[in-house]
Symmetry: C2
Subunit: 465 residues, 2 copies
């Protein structure tokens, strides 16, 4: 086995049980949830239990110049945690303690291995929520979620993960530990390192403790399904609701392809003939919910939508189960599911939706489009078969055009899935060579040996000698 | 004159009218609003009108290794724009155009010299506001405000400047221009450069265009004055209101010293015998305002506060004029006004208030304490005379103890004023040597010659040859 001395020293830090070197074990860490990406068996998998152990691992990794791949549950969709053969995966599943709930300051401090839903379960008795809710909320870890700055259904009103991270404990490439941010609501002391590490996809440092902001759970909420004969009607409704100064907690779209796919999968009673549906939820105190729901219904109707209001929790649950089924339903159709998250300014959503229809026809690929319509964060999902080279060629060209279109419309490569391996080649499209160079200089400043999740986000950098 | 060739080349870029070299002109740029800081006459003052001119200036500054001091209106309170003798001030007063109001996407794009209030005036007809409202809103520029990530009275509910900046055009030290962020509500593409440059105090790059998020103006609001016989009652009210899940738009405190000083200055009808007053405002749709105001009043009364509600706009204006008079009123008392913004977690506000009383007695200095109580961002203000060395020695020791106390309580050096020159020596207290080293590495990565506002925030760095 490669890296014998390194592994021997590592075992002295972790003990034999928490350093996996068996082939079967290592295979579990060779890939992540992103489709059509390479798979690589890592050298070994470390399962640290403390910040000190992580620091010890990084000191050894620096000494031996071994690439390190920090990993939560591996649910990311951009190839963010795929290792190389010569690299060590650090899995945080054993660092899964909620370190503190500070109800007075509305904060929680957690280790990176805490599952997002577990945090929400822990704060629910206090009438609080941790708003970021990626689709993978039941399995994804806080560490992975912060590293990817993941979003979710409530992003329109509540923002993404980085909007909730207040403080971090970080282990740098050389094993140095430091803290930034904290529990103060306002903090403009020095560079905003919290925001720099949040969303850095494990390329700048390893987060070993995370302090997040909690918010009071909304007192009331109302979920609605609006059914449209024409895609344009749905698109106009999205911008119309915002123009009426209502920011729904959630405003999701599913196009016809998605509706049919989901309905076949989970029989939620969706209208399979509709061009599109919007799933909407407003929340807050009852008077606000009442008022905003009325505006939402009116705007939907003005744009040709038929509105059904969920009458109880069961109907509400049914709606959101249908939306959450979009990805698994698509994934069932074909062996490979390429899920993108190109994002455009809100006003460009109609253009983007029409462009996606055009791109699907042009490359003869099946694109199901759904996603967080209110914030312009669509999820065009291409079902295909990665063993079919000719088809994949068309898929890649379609994806190329999706990103070029999003950027041309003033959009961005990622609303919530990150860059990882999958979107690296498009980085210059968004940031220009100068912008990418800025990011590479930051990466080199904090990880001069290039051992932290190398190859991700800013692409391969020369290892300095 | 020093820098002859540099200035000659610079004049070719800007013309003679927009390169100030006269002594009187240069004196206007030798200091900023921070007290007890050094003053230095800069080499010259450049007044660019375009991004291209800024890039041209930076190319020359790089070629001649001349330090550059970007500057808005100079209202910052941490010595952030004080030049050195061998440096060029770049004033952005002539880059003061609102480039775009995008009402559909709720964004505005401005040049750095736009005054904050001018932006608010421009968006008001659309029923929108740009929430950050530092005390200097009528004179401070957007560029300076973004560079400092300034806060203000509404910070508790609405956040600080960095929460509103969505996109930037940046000129780097070597004159390279690049863009980051944009108009998408969600954006997790690459490192969060927008947040890194925001609050970087001119040390990493120069912002030449700024895209900010606007929000709908609240439909209704209610202002209240709560009068307390005991400081503890006011402190308990602050945490009590939040514990009741009400986040007021504004929750300001003034202690007895401040009340007396303000009342003597502007005769607002404040209760001069009170130990403290809270000035509170809730806003939103009328039903929310009604409900939240009732909770606020109840919590005030439960903690011994007497509540007066502003019955009309005139009474409301009177209240906020009194609060905004705190700094000028204090400044009138003595020649020098040292205004700090140490910030603590909300639960530590009572302890911090008591500590400030103790520190004032211990060092025999006069501390007026007021500020943004709801977010723990207090403004202990020491009035003194910088010509009196013995007094200033006590002032500096009191300030030292204020920052040590804030950090010991889990707080931060700055809630909204930044680090600049004034608080640099405390940086290790908050971030440790490792954290400061991380910031210095980032600074060196983006400004290897150390010509961008050198000496600020991360302290002096060796100029690389």
């Amino acid at each position: 086995m490669a890296g014998g001395d390194f592994l021997k020293e590592l075992q002295a830090v972790l003990g034999p049980e928490r350093l996996l070197t068996g082939t079967e074990d290592r295979w579990c860490y060779a890939f992540d949830a992103a489709a059509a990406q390479p798979k690589h068996l890592p050298l070994a998998v470390a399962l640290p239990r403390s910040t000190e152990e992580v620091a010890g691992i990084m000191k050894l990794a620096t000494a031996y110049r071994v690439p390190v791949y920090p990993r939560g549950s591996g649910t990311n969709l951009s190839g963010g945690v795929i290792p190389r053969e010569d690299g060590l995966v650090i899995s945080f599943v054993e660092m899964n303690n909620i370190l503190e709930l500070d109800i007075e300051n509305l904060t929680a401090t957690v280790q990176p291995g805490v599952v997002i839903q577990e945090l929400n379960d822990a704060v629910a008795p206090y009438g609080l929520i941790y708003p970021p809710d990626p689709g993978s909320v039941a399995t994804a870890t806080m560490g992975g979620s912060v590293a990817e700055s993941s979003g979710g259904l409530r992003g329109l009103k509540y923002g993404v993960t980085k909007d909730y991270v207040m403080g971090l404990e970080v282990v740098l490439a050389d094993g140095t530990v430091f803290h930034c941010g904290g529990k103060t609501v306002k903090n403009v002391s020095g560079y905003d390192l919290v925001k720099l590490f949040c969303g850095s996809e494990g390329t700048l440092g390893i987060m070993t403790a995370i302090t997040v902001r909690l918010t009071p759970a909304p007192e009331a909420r109302r979920s609605m399904l609006a059914v449209f004969d024409r895609l344009e009607g749905a698109a106009r409704t999205i911008t119309g609701i915002i123009a009426n100064k209502v920011i729904p907690a959630t405003m999701e779209i599913m196009d016809n392809v998605t509706i049919r796919t989901v309905e076949a999968y989970c029989h939620a009673g969706l209208p399979v003939e509709a061009a599109a549906v919007l799933l909407l939820e407003v929340d807050g105190i009852p008077a606000v919910v009442e008022k905003e729901a009325a505006i939402v219904e009116r705007v939907c109707r003005e744009n040709g939508g038929q509105v059904r209001v969920a009458r109880d929790d069961a109907e509400r649950e049914n709606l959101w189960t249908a939306r959450r089924a979009a990805l698994p339903a698509c994934a069932r159709l074909r062996p490979t599911t390429v899920l993108e998250d190109a994002t455009v300014p809100r006003s460009k959503i109609p253009e983007m939706l029409l462009a996606l229809e055009r791109i699907a026809r042009k490359y003869n690929v099946s694109i199901a489009t759904y996603g967080h319509a209110g914030d312009g964060n669509l999820h065009p999902t291409i079902t295909c078969d990665e063993r079919d080279q000719e088809e994949m060629e068309r898929v890649h060209r379609a994806v190329d055009e999706i990103f070029h279109t999003a950027i041309a419309l003033g959009g961005t490569l990622s609303g919530e899935h990150g860059i990882g391996l999958a979107k690296q080649k498009y980085m210059e499209l968004e940031f220009g060579a100068s912008g990418v160079a800025v990011m590479q200089r930051l990466k080199q400043a904090l990880d001069p040996l290039g051992i932290l999740n190398p190859g991700k986000l800013v692409g391969p950098l020369p290892v300095k000698e």
